[in-house]
Protein backbone atom coordinates (compact mmCIF):
# COMPACT_ATOMS: atom_id res chain seq x y z
CA UNK A 1 0.00 0.00 0.00
CA UNK A 2 1.29 3.45 -0.92
CA UNK A 3 2.33 5.62 1.99
CA UNK A 4 0.10 8.67 2.29
CA UNK A 5 2.01 11.95 2.21
CA UNK A 6 0.35 14.69 4.22
CA UNK A 7 -0.39 17.86 2.24
CA UNK A 8 1.19 19.63 5.23
CA UNK A 9 4.52 17.85 5.14
CA UNK A 10 6.34 20.99 3.98
CA UNK A 11 4.41 23.33 6.27
CA UNK A 12 4.60 21.67 9.66
CA UNK A 13 8.19 22.55 10.52
CA UNK A 14 8.81 21.84 14.23
CA UNK A 15 10.02 24.76 16.29
CA UNK A 16 9.10 27.67 18.51
CA UNK A 17 7.58 30.71 16.83
CA UNK A 18 5.92 34.02 17.66
CA UNK A 19 5.55 35.68 21.04
CA UNK A 20 8.04 34.86 23.77
CA UNK A 21 7.09 33.13 26.99
CA UNK A 22 5.02 30.01 27.33
CA UNK A 23 3.52 28.86 24.06
CA UNK A 24 -0.22 29.46 24.04
CA UNK A 25 -0.84 27.21 21.05
CA UNK A 26 0.75 24.00 19.85
CA UNK A 27 0.11 22.94 16.26
CA UNK A 28 0.92 19.64 14.65
CA UNK A 29 -0.46 17.12 12.20
CA UNK A 30 -1.39 13.50 12.48
CA UNK A 31 -1.92 10.86 9.83
CA UNK A 32 -5.50 10.02 8.94
CA UNK A 33 -6.18 6.33 9.36
CA UNK A 34 -8.73 5.06 6.88
CA UNK A 35 -11.33 7.80 6.80
CA UNK A 36 -14.51 6.58 5.12
CA UNK A 37 -17.92 8.10 4.60
CA UNK A 38 -21.05 5.97 4.59
CA UNK A 39 -24.11 7.61 3.10
CA UNK A 40 -27.59 6.66 1.99
CA UNK A 41 -31.09 7.87 1.38
CA UNK A 42 -34.36 7.40 3.22
CA UNK A 43 -33.93 4.37 5.45
CA UNK A 44 -30.26 5.24 6.04
CA UNK A 45 -30.54 4.28 9.71
CA UNK A 46 -31.54 0.70 8.87
CA UNK A 47 -28.89 0.43 6.15
CA UNK A 48 -26.12 1.77 8.41
CA UNK A 49 -27.03 -0.21 11.53
CA UNK A 50 -25.29 -3.49 10.54
CA UNK A 51 -22.11 -1.60 9.58
CA UNK A 52 -22.04 0.28 12.87
CA UNK A 53 -22.72 -2.92 14.82
CA UNK A 54 -19.87 -4.70 13.01
CA UNK A 55 -17.53 -1.89 14.11
CA UNK A 56 -18.70 -2.02 17.73
CA UNK A 57 -20.64 1.23 17.41
CA UNK A 58 -24.26 1.78 18.42
CA UNK A 59 -25.75 4.70 16.50
CA UNK A 60 -22.74 6.66 15.23
CA UNK A 61 -23.22 9.36 17.85
CA UNK A 62 -25.26 12.53 17.51
CA UNK A 63 -24.82 15.66 15.43
CA UNK A 64 -22.77 17.11 18.29
CA UNK A 65 -21.01 14.12 19.85
CA UNK A 66 -18.83 11.59 18.06
CA UNK A 67 -18.93 7.92 19.04
CA UNK A 68 -15.76 6.04 19.88
CA UNK A 69 -15.16 2.30 19.98
CA UNK A 70 -11.53 1.29 20.41
CA UNK A 71 -9.62 2.83 17.52
CA UNK A 72 -12.81 3.62 15.60
CA UNK A 73 -14.38 7.10 15.66
CA UNK A 74 -17.70 7.96 14.03
CA UNK A 75 -19.11 11.41 13.31
CA UNK A 76 -22.76 11.78 12.31
CA UNK A 77 -22.25 14.73 9.97
CA UNK A 78 -25.71 14.83 8.34
CA UNK A 79 -29.01 12.93 8.59
CA UNK A 80 -27.84 10.34 6.08
CA UNK A 81 -24.04 10.56 6.32
CA UNK A 82 -21.55 9.25 8.87
CA UNK A 83 -17.77 9.70 8.76
CA UNK A 84 -15.81 6.77 10.19
CA UNK A 85 -12.09 6.78 10.95
CA UNK A 86 -9.91 3.87 11.99
CA UNK A 87 -12.11 1.01 10.81
CA UNK A 88 -10.15 0.00 7.72
CA UNK A 89 -11.61 -0.50 4.27
CA UNK A 90 -15.41 -0.27 4.38
CA UNK A 91 -16.05 -0.83 0.66
CA UNK A 92 -17.38 -4.33 1.32
CA UNK A 93 -20.43 -2.76 2.98
CA UNK A 94 -21.54 -1.06 -0.24
CA UNK A 95 -25.09 -2.01 -1.22
CA UNK A 96 -28.12 -0.60 -3.05
CA UNK A 97 -29.01 1.27 0.15
CA UNK A 98 -25.55 2.33 1.30
CA UNK A 99 -22.68 4.11 -0.43
CA UNK A 100 -19.16 3.90 0.98
CA UNK A 101 -16.53 6.44 -0.01
CA UNK A 102 -12.83 6.47 0.87
CA UNK A 103 -11.95 10.00 2.02
CA UNK A 104 -8.55 9.11 3.49
CA UNK A 105 -6.74 10.91 0.69
CA UNK A 106 -9.13 13.88 0.76
CA UNK A 107 -8.65 15.18 4.29
CA UNK A 108 -5.74 16.30 6.44
CA UNK A 109 -5.76 16.37 10.22
CA UNK A 110 -4.33 19.34 12.09
CA UNK A 111 -3.98 18.99 15.84
CA UNK A 112 -4.33 22.08 17.97
CA UNK A 113 -3.73 22.35 21.71
CA UNK A 114 -2.61 24.69 24.45
CA UNK A 115 -4.13 27.23 26.83
CA UNK A 116 -4.95 29.64 23.96
CA UNK A 117 -6.29 26.96 21.57
CA UNK A 118 -9.93 27.78 22.33
CA UNK A 119 -9.26 31.51 21.93
CA UNK A 120 -7.65 30.87 18.57
CA UNK A 121 -10.58 28.79 17.31
CA UNK A 122 -13.09 31.42 18.43
CA UNK A 123 -11.00 34.09 16.73
CA UNK A 124 -11.17 32.22 13.41
CA UNK A 125 -14.62 30.64 13.37
CA UNK A 126 -18.12 31.81 14.25
CA UNK A 127 -18.80 29.17 16.91
CA UNK A 128 -18.66 29.19 20.70
CA UNK A 129 -15.62 27.15 21.76
CA UNK A 130 -15.77 27.83 25.49
CA UNK A 131 -15.48 24.66 27.60
CA UNK A 132 -19.16 24.66 28.55
CA UNK A 133 -20.27 24.91 24.90
CA UNK A 134 -17.66 22.62 23.34
CA UNK A 135 -16.55 19.78 25.59
CA UNK A 136 -14.57 16.59 25.32
CA UNK A 137 -15.98 14.19 22.71
CA UNK A 138 -18.05 16.85 20.97
CA UNK A 139 -17.49 18.05 17.41
CA UNK A 140 -18.60 20.92 15.22
CA UNK A 141 -18.67 21.45 11.50
CA UNK A 142 -17.91 25.07 10.75
CA UNK A 143 -15.72 27.29 8.61
CA UNK A 144 -12.19 28.60 9.10
CA UNK A 145 -11.19 31.21 6.52
CA UNK A 146 -14.27 30.13 4.49
CA UNK A 147 -13.07 26.52 4.36
CA UNK A 148 -15.46 23.91 5.72
CA UNK A 149 -13.80 22.00 8.58
CA UNK A 150 -14.77 19.47 11.22
CA UNK A 151 -13.37 20.24 14.67
CA UNK A 152 -13.29 17.46 17.27
CA UNK A 153 -12.60 18.25 20.93
CA UNK A 154 -10.12 15.61 22.10
CA UNK A 155 -9.15 17.02 25.49
CA UNK A 156 -9.58 20.00 27.82
CA UNK A 157 -7.74 22.27 25.37
CA UNK A 158 -7.05 19.79 22.58
CA UNK A 159 -8.66 19.67 19.16
CA UNK A 160 -8.39 17.80 15.88
CA UNK A 161 -9.27 19.84 12.81
CA UNK A 162 -10.18 17.76 9.75
CA UNK A 163 -9.60 19.90 6.66
CA UNK A 164 -10.14 19.19 2.96
CA UNK A 165 -6.72 18.17 1.63
CA UNK A 166 -6.61 20.81 -1.08
CA UNK A 167 -7.24 23.55 1.50
CA UNK A 168 -5.00 22.16 4.23
CA UNK A 169 -2.09 24.53 3.56
CA UNK A 170 -4.42 27.54 3.60
CA UNK A 171 -6.03 26.59 6.91
CA UNK A 172 -2.62 25.74 8.38
CA UNK A 173 -1.29 29.18 7.40
CA UNK A 174 -4.30 30.92 8.93
CA UNK A 175 -3.95 28.95 12.17
CA UNK A 176 -0.19 29.48 12.18
CA UNK A 177 -0.30 33.24 11.56
CA UNK A 178 -3.04 33.87 14.10
CA UNK A 179 -1.30 31.70 16.72
CA UNK A 180 1.92 33.73 16.59
CA UNK A 181 0.74 36.44 19.03
CA UNK A 182 -0.16 33.68 21.52
CA UNK A 183 3.28 32.06 21.21
CA UNK A 184 3.35 29.07 18.87
CA UNK A 185 4.96 25.70 19.22
CA UNK A 186 4.96 23.30 16.26
CA UNK A 187 5.45 19.67 17.23
CA UNK A 188 6.70 16.79 15.15
CA UNK A 189 3.87 15.08 13.29
CA UNK A 190 2.33 12.24 15.28
Amino acid sequence: MAEMLSPLHTKAVPGRYGAAGNAGVTLSTRPIANLWQIAGWQGFGDAAAPVLAALGLTDGGSYRRSEQSGEVTAWRIAPDKILIEGAGDLSAHTSDDLVTLDLGHARAAITLSGPAARDLLMQLSAVDCTPSAFGLGEFMQTGIHHVGVLIQCTGPDNFDVLVPGTWAETVWEVLHDNALPHGLNIDEAA
Binding site: Y63, R64, A78, P79, V127, Q141, T142, G143, H146, G148
Partner: protein, 88 residues
Protein backbone atom coordinates in the same frame (compact mmCIF):
# COMPACT_ATOMS: atom_id res chain seq x y z
CA UNK B 1 -26.37 39.80 12.92
CA UNK B 2 -28.57 36.95 11.69
CA UNK B 3 -28.36 33.63 13.50
CA UNK B 4 -29.97 30.54 12.04
CA UNK B 5 -30.99 27.49 14.03
CA UNK B 6 -29.82 24.66 11.78
CA UNK B 7 -31.68 21.42 12.62
CA UNK B 8 -28.38 19.52 12.38
CA UNK B 9 -25.72 21.89 13.73
CA UNK B 10 -27.71 24.10 16.10
CA UNK B 11 -27.66 27.88 16.33
CA UNK B 12 -25.06 29.28 13.93
CA UNK B 13 -23.96 32.58 12.47
CA UNK B 14 -25.39 33.55 9.10
CA UNK B 15 -21.85 33.74 7.66
CA UNK B 16 -21.79 29.92 7.53
CA UNK B 17 -24.83 29.87 5.21
CA UNK B 18 -25.51 30.77 1.60
CA UNK B 19 -28.85 32.00 0.30
CA UNK B 20 -30.29 29.69 -2.32
CA UNK B 21 -33.66 30.72 -3.70
CA UNK B 22 -37.27 31.65 -3.05
CA UNK B 23 -38.89 28.55 -1.52
CA UNK B 24 -42.40 29.56 -2.54
CA UNK B 25 -41.89 28.99 -6.25
CA UNK B 26 -43.68 25.94 -7.59
CA UNK B 27 -42.97 24.41 -10.96
CA UNK B 28 -46.04 24.12 -13.22
CA UNK B 29 -47.26 20.68 -14.17
CA UNK B 30 -45.10 19.30 -16.98
CA UNK B 31 -48.16 19.17 -19.24
CA UNK B 32 -48.87 22.89 -18.80
CA UNK B 33 -49.16 24.44 -22.26
CA UNK B 34 -49.92 28.03 -21.30
CA UNK B 35 -46.71 30.09 -21.42
CA UNK B 36 -47.52 32.49 -18.59
CA UNK B 37 -47.12 29.95 -15.72
CA UNK B 38 -43.70 29.04 -17.14
CA UNK B 39 -42.69 32.71 -17.44
CA UNK B 40 -43.77 33.24 -13.83
CA UNK B 41 -41.88 30.11 -12.72
CA UNK B 42 -38.63 31.12 -14.40
CA UNK B 43 -38.60 34.92 -14.08
CA UNK B 44 -41.20 36.42 -11.78
CA UNK B 45 -40.78 36.60 -8.02
CA UNK B 46 -42.71 38.25 -5.24
CA UNK B 47 -40.76 40.83 -3.25
CA UNK B 48 -42.67 40.81 0.04
CA UNK B 49 -42.20 43.23 2.90
CA UNK B 50 -42.34 40.83 5.82
CA UNK B 51 -42.14 37.07 6.17
CA UNK B 52 -40.64 35.07 3.31
CA UNK B 53 -39.82 31.36 2.87
CA UNK B 54 -36.32 30.83 1.48
CA UNK B 55 -33.89 28.04 0.64
CA UNK B 56 -30.56 28.41 2.41
CA UNK B 57 -27.54 26.11 2.24
CA UNK B 58 -25.43 25.40 5.32
CA UNK B 59 -22.31 25.53 3.17
CA UNK B 60 -19.79 25.69 6.02
CA UNK B 61 -21.52 23.18 8.25
CA UNK B 62 -23.59 20.09 7.55
CA UNK B 63 -24.02 21.07 3.88
CA UNK B 64 -27.77 20.51 4.08
CA UNK B 65 -30.39 22.55 2.21
CA UNK B 66 -32.79 24.27 4.58
CA UNK B 67 -36.11 26.05 4.29
CA UNK B 68 -36.30 28.96 6.65
CA UNK B 69 -38.63 31.84 7.28
CA UNK B 70 -37.01 35.27 7.25
CA UNK B 71 -38.64 38.62 7.78
CA UNK B 72 -37.35 40.83 4.97
CA UNK B 73 -38.21 43.94 6.97
CA UNK B 74 -36.65 43.07 10.32
CA UNK B 75 -34.31 40.15 9.38
CA UNK B 76 -36.00 38.18 12.15
CA UNK B 77 -35.62 34.43 11.57
CA UNK B 78 -38.60 32.12 12.03
CA UNK B 79 -38.76 28.35 11.61
CA UNK B 80 -35.90 26.45 9.99
CA UNK B 81 -36.31 22.92 8.65
CA UNK B 82 -34.42 20.51 6.45
CA UNK B 83 -35.61 21.11 2.89
CA UNK B 84 -36.03 17.38 2.38
CA UNK B 85 -38.76 17.38 5.02
CA UNK B 86 -40.72 20.28 3.54
CA UNK B 87 -43.22 19.92 0.75
CA UNK B 88 -42.43 22.39 -2.03
Amino acid sequence: MIRINCPVCGLRNETEFTYGADANVQRPEMGEEDTQPWVDYVFNRENPRGWHREYWHHAQGCRQWLVLERNTLTHEIGSCQLARGVEA
